[in-house]
Structures are given as C-alpha cells and as structure tokens.
Symmetry: C2
Subunit: 702 residues, 2 copies
C-alpha cells in the first residue's frame, strides 16, 4: 500500500528531493497475523506496538541413528540428514512516526487486519498525551475498546524492560572521545535506583527505586516544546529537525553573554571559566536607544544554537539537583527532545558532569522513543492474558530495526540517499524483537559478569579495525555469501531473488555502520555475524553452511581414527600434548585472518594436515603450552570446559582428540556450543550427533 497524502509538505522547500510516498506495508509488517495492539500517542510522535506470529525457515539435523529418523544410515551415506522446516515464533513490533499520520496508519490497520480476522484482541492499551485526543477515533475506526493507561507508568515499565532485556541498550555520550558512544552493560542488580528524565514537550523527572516503585519527583515546563516553540517564533525553520539542523551550524557566543564578556576573563572569585555562559541571549537585549532593526543582526543558526544549549543545560542542572537530593548517580534521558541527537546529548552530558562534578552519569537509551509503547503493550499483554511475555526472552532484530540515531532530515547515507528515505520519506523508526527459546543468563563462573567483554576488538572505538572488518563482510565476501545462500537452496526458484534482497539489506546495514558504527550498540565481529544471520533469516535462508558442515564433518570423521592413532604413537606425552594443541590451532584456521583463509578454503587448498604444516613456529603469540604440560605432570584437572568453534576438521580432528586426552587423564569435560548457526560453527544439535558418531568410533570418549 502506498499513501501519497503525506507528501503534501514536500513541495518547494527543504524536503525537495524526498520520495513523496510512504510504504506503510513495510512499516506495519506481518499485519495479517497481528494479535494485540497498543499505542502511545505523544504531541509529536506516535508509536504503535503489536505482536505477530512469524514463520522462520530452519534446518534441523536428524541423525540416522536417532529414533525419530525415518531412514537407516547406510555406509557412504551422510551421518545425518538436514531437514527444512518452518518454525513459528512471536515477534514484537514497535513503529514510531509523526503524530499527524496517526489516522492514516489507523486506517491501514483497520483495512488490513481488523476487517479480516477474528484473531485480534478487541481491547487495546493507549497511553501518551494524545491518547485522550485520539481515543474516540481509535474506538470508532478500529471497533476496539481503548483502555487509557498512565503515561508515567508505561514509560517506567518500558524503561525497565529495555534495561533488563536488550544488550547495549545504555550508553554514555562522550563528544571528545574516539568513540563518542560508550555502551554500558548494566547487570540486573545494577539497574536501580535511577532517575528518568523524560523530555517531551515538557519535562518529567521520575525517580525509579525498583521495578514496581517509582515517583515523579519533579519536572519543568522548559522542554522540547519550548525549543521548538521559541525556535518557530525566532527562526524560519520548519519543524523540529530543521531547527536542530540550524542549531548545529550556529555559535551560541554570538547571542549569549559569556563570563569573559563581563569580566574580560574567568571570574576567579567563584571559579567560573571564561567561556561559561553568563546570560543566555544576553547580547540580544535592546534598550530604548537601539533601533528596531537591531534584532535582525543575529543569525538564525546562532539563535537556534543558544536556545538548544539554554534548554539542555537547564534540564541537566535540574536533573542533577534532583539526583543529588536522592543520592542517585544514574540519570537516564528519554523523550522526543533526545532522539540520539549528538548536540543535545552532549549538552546534557556536559551539564550533568559540570553540575555533579563528575559524580553522576548522563545515560541514554537506544530505544528511548519506544518506552511508553513497550510499557503499554506489556501491560495489555499481562492484563488481557495474551501471552506469557517474560523478561529476557526477546532479542532485537537488527535486520529489521532502525538504528540509532534517527537521521535528521539532511543526513545522507554513504551512497547519497537521505537516511530516512527507507520508508518513503516518512520519518519512521522501527524496533522488532524476536522471541528466543532460551533465557540467557551470565556464565556463573565469571567473577564480574557486568564487566565481561566477550569480544577482542571493539570496532566502535578502533576505526582501523572497523574499516577492515566492514570491508571483510561487504563487497566480494558478501558476493560469496549470496552465492552460498543461493547454493544452499537449489530447489527453490525464488532463492536468487531473495538472496539479492538479502545482499541489499545487509549492504545497507554495513553502510549505516561505516557511517554510524554505534547504530546498534557496540560494533564487533560477533555483532556483524549475528546481524548477517538475522538478515539471512529475514529472507528465509537458514544455516547457509549446513550442507558444507555436513560434508566437512563426513570428511573429518573419516580421518579421526588415523589422527587418534598418530597421537597414540608419539613416544613422549609432551610431544602428544604439543600435537594436540597444534591440532586445535590447525582446526581453527578459519579465524586466522578471515579473508585470505576464506579464499584458501573456498579453493579447497587447505586441508587439515597442510594447515598443521602452515602453523607458525613456537613461541606463539600467546603460548601456555609449556605451562600446561608442566601442570599435567603434577596434577589432574577435575573438570574442563571447552568452547567449541568450527565444524569439520576443527571439532573432529582438533577438539575431540584433545577431549579424549583429558578424559583419559581423569578430567571431566563439558562442551559448550552455539544454539544457532553462525558461519561454519558447530551447533549444539550437530555436536550431539557428532558425539554419537565418535562414541561409536572411540570407546574412550563414550
């Protein structure tokens, strides 16, 4: 469905060059099986929340040995079969757009869903200031009962949900650091208490002491509406974003009186620095003697900048004072005024640091715009008994969700397209969360899980590494993934089409990350891989490497007994130990330096034994071999936890011989593997089948 009504404002102006329609169908995905709705309608932005059922294509492995296999394994045949199947999952959709489009969107929902299905819950939660204004329209058009919910309560509920559910939700903004976005992980016991400063048209300051206990402690009428309202009176800017854009070009010192304008330098008596603003707009005063026209001597951009700074700084000071009064250190900012805008976040951060003498932290949320909608939706789900929506069973769909921040109108992607064109010119943000089957918990042996950083490189900070890895994942490497995807579904005629869509989607995603590496939280190799899997899933390409891994497992299994025998034949135990470690390293070649090795593997030039030969001479970069050998002479390890990596040679010829050795020493061994596909990583389901096979081949392992 394409709506053209919304392009009315795009003639002759700032927005020229924008697409003149929005693709509502893409915004409201999976509408045909949407279940439960909630809305949060603010003065500027509206958010719609709903839940849908989605079908994921999955490849399930079935061992021929297992009872539910319908075939007997015959010699020469694969050890397991790969079955394509569809699995059903739940998805939460949150869509944010300008409030003026509410009616259009409601019409779409009504036409596409509510007329056709009886599956929908005929009650919906509505929150936000606009809930009042639009309640009748919602009731009439959708034919549902609308329950108004307290705005603050929904906000806090939503905030607690994202804080406890989404990784890298929280960040600090440090304008002058290499990475301006410093993501902070908060363990569940580190979340409370906090102060939530919600900056909409006005400002509310809420002290949150626990999941269920919060209080509005204060607020101010100087908020986003004040910036926008005064800015509208003082400049020609049309709309909030133009005003912000204007502000980023301005110099506040042309309008404000600084301390040095009064004292010629700092005011040392009270420790006020020379560049501190002494009086906002103080240079604009006009006395009786001045001519009327003097007002025009100030540039609009300087006025906008001064306005932004005045309001942000005021909010920061008030927030900091409330935090001091309650002894709170964490101050979260949310609301329309924020929207990930660097200038705003910087002034707020600067203000909190200044007023608290660095004792408090200004913290921002990647999904602050959705808090009220999330809260209203969760409340509805709970009250209407729709689904057991437990915390921590959801993960962000990076492929479908828009990143941080929303691009302001003029921002362009690397290839020159306006950032917000993806929904046809409508500024629209989307967050989708997919239900995951397991609840993730921190590994219990970590001493401080909150500080554990599983990634070796933080690509958000290291720009050189970032460039290298983004290049790795894009370009010709992406071509190969697309080829692989097509190859993985030889029997599906639309595979090529879907694979191309995947390519475009993922390349778009990479382009966003070149430009704004912080868009989806900390950028790491892991997050690039995860997102690629999510993109592939989006276009129904599950586990691209399933068949490759299957083949490699077959190949390696054939060499297993020989490898074990070779090891057993080594005269000295320390030789055996060295060979075991070399085996693990050789199996892991894929991670040596992704592009080059990938090429070798692609060309089948790299077998296990040649990989063994290609290993560097000792000492290796990190080389604990001697220490291990030494240790095993004196003591027996009780238990070993092995995190396994690749399928094929790595697991079968590298890891399993090592595991066998440990078992023979009397050590208990736990193997830890991924639940979901990631490249050629061995998965939990696969590992189980391989273990069956190996226990058959090698009684020591059984």
């Amino acid at each position: 469905m394409v709506v053209t009504e919304m392009s009315a404002s795009n003639e002759n102006g700032y927005h020229s060059g924008y697409a003149t329609s929005i693709d509502i169908t893409r915004m409201f995905r999976n509408m045909s099986n949407a279940k439960l709705f909630a809305v949060d309608i603010g003065g500027s932005l509206a958010k719609v929340a709903y839940m849908s059922e989605v079908q994921h294509a999955r490849k399930r492995l079935k061992s021929f040995c297992s009872e539910d296999s319908d075939k007997e394994r015959t010699i020469g045949n694969p050890i397991y079969e790969i079955k394509d199947q569809q699995e059903c999952g739940l998805r939460l959709h949150f869509i944010k757009f300008e409030t003026k489009y509410v009616e259009t969107c409601v019409d779409f929902i009504q036409q596409n869903l509510l007329e056709k299905t009886d599956n929908v819950v005929k009650v919906m939660k509505a929150t936000g200031g606009g809930a009042h204004k639009y309640k009748d329209m919602l009731t009439t058009k959708l034919g549902v009962r609308v329950d108004k919910e307290d705005e603050m309560q929904c906000l806090i509920r939503g905030c607690n949900f994202v804080l406890s559910t989404l990784p890298d939700e929280v960040f600090q903004f440090c304008r002058d650091e290499d990475s301006q976005y410093v993501f902070r992980h908060l363990e569940s016991n580190e979340i409370f208490p906090y102060l939530l400063v919600n900056i909409g048209s006005g400002v509310s300051i809420i002290q949150v002491n626990s999941k269920d206990h919060y209080q509005r402690v204060g607020g101010t009428s100087m908020g986003g509406g004040t910036f926008w309202g005064l800015g509208s009176l003082l400049t020609k800017a049309k709309g909030f974003d133009e005003l912000l854009e204007l502000a980023t070009q301005g110099q506040h010192k042309n309008v404000d009186v600084l301390v040095k304008d009064i004292y010629g330098g700092p005011y040392t008596g009270s420790g006020l620095p020379a560049d501190l603003t002494a009086s906002s707009f103080g240079k604009a005063v006009r006395s009786c003697n001045d001519k009327q026209e003097d007002g025009h001597k100030f540039a609009e951009c300087d006025i906008a900048k001064s306005l932004l700074q005045m309001i942000s700084n005021d909010i920061a000071q008030i927030a900091s004072l409330y935090a001091r009064l309650s002894g709170i250190k964490k101050i979260f900012f949310s609301g329309y005024f924020i929207r990930g805008i660097p200038a705003t976040m910087h002034t707020l951060t600067y203000g909190i640091n200044y007023w608290s003498k660095d004792a408090q932290q200004a913290l921002f949320l990647r999904h602050e715009g959705y808090l009220g909608a999330i809260g209203a939706f969760l409340k509805g789900a709970e009250e209407y008994g729709v689904s057991p929506l437990q915390f921590k069973t959801w993960e962000e769909n990076y492929a479908a969700s828009t990143g941080l921040p929303t691009a302001t109108s003029k921002e362009k992607t690397l290839d020159g397209k306006p950032m917000n064109q993806q929904y046809g010119g409508l500024q629209c943000d989307v967050l989708e969360l997919d239900q995951i089957s397991q609840d993730l918990v921190p590994f219990p042996l970590l001493s401080s899980p909150g500080e554990y950083q599983p990634d070796t490189d933080d690509l958000t900070v290291d720009s050189e590494a970032r460039k290298y890895w983004l290049d790795c994942f894009g370009g010709s490497a992406l071509d190969k993934v697309v080829e692989r995807a097509i190859a993985s579904q030889p029997n599906l005629p639309d595979a090529k089409d879907r694979a191309e869509k995947f390519r475009a989607k993922y390349q778009d995603h990479l382009n966003v990350l070149y430009d704004k590496p912080f868009s989806y939280g900390s950028l790491t190799v892991r997050s690039l891989l995860d997102t690629r899997e999510q993109c592939l899933d989006e276009f129904q390409f599950p586990d691209l490497y399933a068949e490759v891994k299957q083949q490699e497992n077959e190949d390696a299994l054939r060499l297993f007994s020989q490898r074990v025998q070779d090891l057993d034949n080594l005269p000295h135990d320390d030789q055996r130990q060295e060979s075991l470690v070399r085996g693990i390293l050789a199996g892991n070649v894929f991670d040596w330096g992704a592009m080059e090795v990938a090429e070798l593997m692609e060309k089948k030039l790299l077998g296990f034994s040649s990989a063994m030969d290609k290993l560097q001479k000792r000492p290796w970069l990190i080389d604990d071999l001697d220490e291990w050998i030494n240790n095993t002479q004196n003591k027996v390890y009780k238990c070993a936890l092995v995190f396994v990596d690749n399928s094929g040679a790595d697991i079968i010829l590298g890891v399993f011989p090592f595991v066998r050795y440990l078992l023979l020493c009397g050590t208990k061994v736990i193997l830890a593997a991924n639940s979901y596909p990631a490249l050629n990583d061995v998965m939990f389901s696969e590992l189980n089948i391989l273990l069956e096979q190996l226990t058959g081949l090698c009684p020591d392992i059984r």
Copy 2:
C-alpha cells in the same frame, strides 16, 4: 546642574511626555563635602555610593540652673532656654541609575567635587561586571586609584548590612492577601543561614552561613538578560520596563501548553493540576505543514508574559532545589530582574511555595538594588580607615530615599505625573542613611523581641485606617504643621519658603503611600510621624513644638504643687489612686482621636481640669484600676518603668504625681523618654530639666 544629553531617546515614543532633562544636582546631594566613593556597575544599572557630612539644625535645651547656662534664671522667666545650633552628622548616599549614564555622572562628580577639594579619599572601590569595563575611565577622569572588588563578596556584605541595620528590610510577597507586602523582622540570630539568589543578566545562587562565610553554590544563565534578550527578539518592546509592562497585559496560556491542553484536565496520576504549564511556548511550534505567517498569530503581550513566567519559575525551582540540598528555609532574591516588580515577585514566590511545598520562603529586600554598592563602600571605608562605620548606627532617611518599588515607565502618581519624573525623567533611585548617635537594642525584658510589634494599627493591611490616618497627616493638618514650622522660626526670613518645600515633599510622600502603602516598609502612625520629622529636618525645621512645649511646661509647673496637694487631701487611698490614673488619662488627651482634639488644643479650649471632666465614665475600654488598687494593698512593687508621652500637663500633672506616689510606696521608678522630637512628646533632655525643677518643688521626688 541640568543635563539634556539624556533626553535623546524621548522623541516619538513610549517616553513622550517625560521631562527631557535630569537634575543631577538633586541626585548627587551634598557633593561639596563628599568623602569616600564606591561604585557598583552592572550591565543595566550603575550605583554610586559616597559619604557626606551634613549639618542638622537642632534645638538644644539649656537649664538656667545648669552650670553651663550663661544666664541666671529670674522669676517669671522660662525655666530653660532653647538654643538653635547646627550639629554635624554623617550621611551615606546610594544612587542607582541606568549604566548608560555612568560617564555623565562621573563628569558631574569630577567637576563638582574632585577638582575643588583635597578632602576626598583618592582611592575608590569598584565592583560589578562593569567595573572591568569602566575602570580606566574612572581612573582617568577622577584621578583616583580604582580597586576592583569581588562582586559576590560586596553583594553579601551589603546584604548582611541591610539585614542587620534597616527595619522592615525584608518582606514576603503575597499577591492574593489584603496586604501583598508582608514585612518580616529578623533578629540578628535569625538572619543566617540564608540563600541569596541574585538575578542580574544571569543568576548566581549563594549560600550564606554567617557574616563571613558564604559560597556560590550554583547559578543559571537564564536570568534577566535572557528575559530582556529573548523579549527584544520576540517583541517590539524597547527596554526592560516596556517588556515588563507588556508582560503584565498578557496571558501565558495563549502561548504555553497547559496540562489540561494535553489531558483534558489535571494529570491525576502525578498530581499535576489542570492549569499547570506543561510546556512553555508549546503552542508556538510550527511544523513543516504550517505556513510561515503562523508565527504572527501570537500576541506580543502573551509572549512576554510566558517568557517572564518561564524564567521566573525556572529560577524559583533551581533556587528551591539548592535550598533543599542545604536545608535552608530563607531564600532572598536580589538583582536587576526583581526591582520590586509584582509579577516577577509573585512568580518567584509561587515557584518557591510550589516546589518546596511551602517549606521555604521567598523573601525580598527593599534595597536589593544597592547591595553591591553598599558592600563595596563598607569595604572601602574599612580598608582606607575613613570612619568607624559600625553596624546599626544608621537609619534610613525616608524623606530623601525613593520607595519600593521603582515605578515602571507608565505608572503615574495620584496627581497624574509619571512616578519617575522626580529626577527629570531619568529612572533613578536613591537611598540615604543618616548616622544616629545611639545604637538601638531591643528592650531586654521582651520575651521575643523579633515578634514585638510596637504599633497598634498596621496601616499597610487595614485600608480603612490607612485612609483615615493619611488624611489626618495631609490636607489641613499639614497646613497647620506648615504654619507651626513658620511660627517656630520667626526670625528666619526663608522659613516660609522652606516650609512650603517641606509641605510639597511630605504631601508627595503621602501620595506615594496612598498609592503604594508598602513603599517604605510597614506603614504605621509612628512611621508617618518619623517621616514627618525627617522631612522637617530636611528643611531645617527642628522640634517645631519646642516653644509650645516650653510654654506648656511652664503653665503646668505652676499647677503642680496644687495638684499634689489636692491629691494628698483626698481621704482614701483608693480615691487618690483613681485620681492619679484619671490625671494620666487627662494628660494624654492628644491621643484620643487626633484631629478633633488637635483642633480643641489649637483653640486653647482644653485645659487639664476640663480634660479631667471630659473623661468617660468607668469602666474604661481597658480598665485595670481595681486590680492595681487591690495589688497595692497587699504588696509593694519593686520597680516601675514609665514610658512618658507628652510635655506639659501630661508629664507634669499626670505622670509626675503618679511617680511621686510610687516613690512614696517604696517603688523604684525608671522614666523612659524619646531621644528625638516627635510632636509634643517630652524628650530625654527636656525630662532632665523638668526633673531638676520638680525635685526643687517637691522633696518626695528628689
């Protein structure tokens, strides 16, 4: 001296009809013997402080019995002589005017003083933001060394001085009370700690813990400069006062989004009332679809009002939060932004009450505009060793000082003249303090001196009583004072001219009080009398009633022995006691109901005995006579303190026979009298002479 340069701005506009010159000579009085200068130059207003020596005309009484009398008293001659003499006193002058006139004023000072005399201290203290800018000009023109002083330090020093020195300095502003100005007396132990919120171009918040210990705890860049600057950009108002005037005509709800605009009523969940401002200027937002011209749909007065309210409320909230942090209840506001403007004081008071839930008080100072200048002057006097400027030895010269608040441009007095025309159109305020010889201390037997209220009627509150008493002091009663003044100086040819000037001055003062009864603190009969004496002193009319009192004392003395004898002849002691009390009441007839009695006295129709006859029948309104008679039968009072009132019959025939009775009972008696003249009140010096005479006539009193 008349300066015409300053009239430049008065053409074609708001200020038309104003005098076009200022009388600088009247502003800078006593310049010919000025001694020590200090300046406080702010961005908007400048203040000059100096000290002068003034000659006061005094009437001194000399007894013919005393050793320094040059005449022997002969029978039939007066018992004392009245000598006219000039006495020297110190006066502190503080003058406040717009900063743009600084140079003109400095030129005046240079021409009229510094060229002619060597008596002036050639060093001056300068404070305020402008001290930096004008330092060179001051040095060059005045040929003095300029010592820059810390602004905050001067401010606090000045604040502590006015708090501990000037009565009725502090007030609360209660817009909805009968008397909007509620004056608060603070005892010296009730002053600290306090928060001083100084609102100039920007805002400084200073915590003052004691006379010498203070700290700037915070501030904000949103202050008077912001109101004026944004107001200049948003309206056509010329100058701060026009902008304020505009604000008083506006409705902020036309520009601001109220809670009810969003929620249709109060936001009960968080206890926000329907009329609370949710977003300042929130109604002025313009989005892409709006036409450019929409900006003009807002009235300038509504914009000005919203601006004033936004800034005042913000300052109040921040001040309240700082006060909460330090547990302080008293928040004083000072600075250019305040200047006694009701709308500003109301919003600040409302804000403090709202944010502190009435736990803190917003307090204002009648002389907040002079604090920095006072502080700088005191510092100079101390450092340069000019004079022992001790606290509490100064009193406000109500006759010369301008009242509270400064009139805004459009305000008129009752007779239609612009309020601020008194200095020829220049908005100028003056504070003058006269040195007094004694240090005043609270009466030590008062249980809580801070709460002691010496006046029976508060004319600031009681509008009916106010009208009555202002009428009493003006009109024909004032005519009689003028006549009396002329009569008191039969040998001075300019007495008539000075008396007319006195009349005009005092009538002006009364007119101000009809209009703004709060102008000089609590309005009482006492303050009206005090001010009249100060006005008379101003025009060299000391103790108008000296000769009248002299005559009445003579007359009464002649009747004293007879009166004592009549009392002694009464058969019963309780009859005597009743007669003693009747005598005191009869002597006090002047206070029965001022105008009617004054008339009788003027016509000499009322003698002591006829006054005794005219007394009401018992019981009187307050009648403790029986209790007193009863008490004296059982016990002897150790000591009696008698506050004496009128000269003549009252003291001699009423009080002294009563005192004699007490002495004969064995009671010690202390007499308390005024130091300075007030109508026909007996003064301390006069009482001493009368005692001399009476001890001669009556051995019981000796």
